[in-house]
C-alpha cells in the first residue's frame, strides 16, 4: 500500500497533478501559521527578563536553524532513494531543496549574528552553534556548486545524492568536533537558552513558527520541483496534453 503510493508519487504526471492540488492548501495553512506565530511571538509573548525584547529574534532564528538541519536530512534521505530506487522525483526533491536549505542556513547565521550584537556585544563569536552553522552553509554551497558544474543533469543529480549522503555522515562528526573545540577554547559559553524552562507564552509561538517554516519549505520545494519537472519532461506526452487542455 505504502510502496504503491511511493511508486505512484514517483510518476511525474501524478506528482505534478497532486502537488498542484496541494499547493493552495499548503499556502493557506502556512499563512495562518505565520500570522498566529508572529502575533503570538511579537505581541502576546512577554519580554524576556534578561534580554528584553531582543529575544524576539528567536522566532525566526531558531526555526531557521532547525530547518537548516532538517532540510539536509531530507536531502540525504531523498538522495538515498534516488540512488537505490532511481526515483526521478527523489532527485528533483533533493536538488530543489538545496537552495532553500542554503537560504535557511544563511538566515540562521545572519539573524544569529544580529541577535549576538546586543547579547554578546559583537556581531560574531566563534561559538559552537554559529560555527557549525557556518560549516553547514559551506556544505550546502558545495552541493549547489557541484550540481551547476555538471552539465548532464541526471548525472549531476546522482553526484549530488552521493555528496549529500557523505555530508550527512559527516555532519555529526563536524558538529561534535566543533562543540569540543569551543568548550576547550572558551570555557563554558553563555548559551541563549540557559534558563531551565521557557514560558509557555514564549514557547507556543516558537513551535507555531517552526511548523510554519516547515510548510514554507514544502511550498518552495514543490514550486521549484514543478518547474524542474515541467522543463525536464517538456517533450513528453503528459506535458503536451497539459498545455492543450490548459490554453
Amino acid at each position: 500500500m505504502i510502496m504503491r503510493f511511493i511508486y505512484q508519487l514517483g510518476s511525474p504526471p501524478y506528482f505534478y497533478a497532486l502537488s498542484g492540488r496541494l499547493l493552495p492548501w499548503l499556502s493557506g495553512i502556512c499563512l495562518i501559521l505565520f500570522a498566529t506565530g508572529l502575533y503570538g511571538g511579537l505581541v502576546l509573548a512577554p519580554a524576556d527578563y534578561q534580554q528584553g525584547d531582543s529575544f524576539r529574534i528567536i522566532y525566526i532564528h531558531v526555526p531557521a536553524a532547525w530547518m537548516s538541519m532538517f532540510v539536509y536530512m531530507v536531502m540525504a534521505f531523498s538522495g538515498a532513494m534516488a540512488l537505490i530506487w532511481r526515483i526521478k522525483i527523489a532527485e528533483i526533491i533533493l536538488i530543489n531543496s538545496a537552495h532553500i536549505g542554503a537560504v535557511f542556513t544563511f538566515l540562521a547565521l545572519v539573524t544569529g549574528s544580529i541577535w549576538g550584537k546586543p547579547m554578546w556585544g559583537t556581531w560574531w563569536v566563534w561559538d559552537a552553534r554559529l560555527t557549525s552553522e557556518l560549516l553547514l552553509l559551506f556544505l550546502y554551497l558545495g552541493v549547489l556548486a557541484l550540481y551547476s558544474a555538471i552539465d548532464d543533469k541526471r548525472k549531476a543529480a546522482r553526484a549530488v545524492a552521493i555528496l549529500a549522503l557523505v555530508g550527512v555522515v559527516n555532519i555529526p562528526i563536524i558538529h561534535y568536533s566543533v562543540e569540543w573545540w569551543s568548550t576547550l577554547h572558551q570555557g563554558p559559553t553563555i548559551t541563549k537558552f540557559d534558563k531551565p524552562s521557557i514560558d509557555t507564552r514564549m514557547l507556543i509561538p516558537l513551535l507555531l513558527m517552526a511548523v510554519a517554516h516547515k510548510f514554507l519549505y514544502a511550498i518552495v520545494v514543490l514550486l521549484r520541483a514543478r518547474n524542474d519537472l515541467l522543463w525536464r519532461e517538456r517533450r513528453s506526452q503528459w506535458v503536451a496534453t497539459l498545455f492543450k487542455d490548459g490554453s
Partner: protein, 59 residues
C-alpha cells in the same frame, strides 16, 4: 497608539529585531516569487516548443 509605538520600539532593540525580520521576509519573499516567475517563462517556452513541433509535423 502608545502601545503601537511601544511595539515598533521593541524596548530599544527595534533596529536589531526589525532588521532581522526584514531580512527574513525579503529572503522568503524571493524564494516564493522567483520560482513563480520562472514558471511563467517556462510555460511560454514550452508552449512555443509544442507549437513548433505541431507545425513541423503538419507540413
Amino acid at each position: 497608539m502608545g502601545s503601537f509605538n511601544e511595539f515598533i520600539h521593541m524596548g530599544g532593540y527595534a533596529s536589531y529585531v526589525w532588521s532581522s525580520y526584514g531580512i527574513v521576509l525579503l529572503a522568503f519573499g524571493l524564494s516564493i516569487i522567483l520560482p513563480l516567475r520562472e514558471k511563467r517563462q517556462l510555460e511560454k517556452r514550452i508552449r512555443r516548443i509544442i507549437q513548433n513541433e505541431q507545425s513541423s509535423s503538419s507540413e
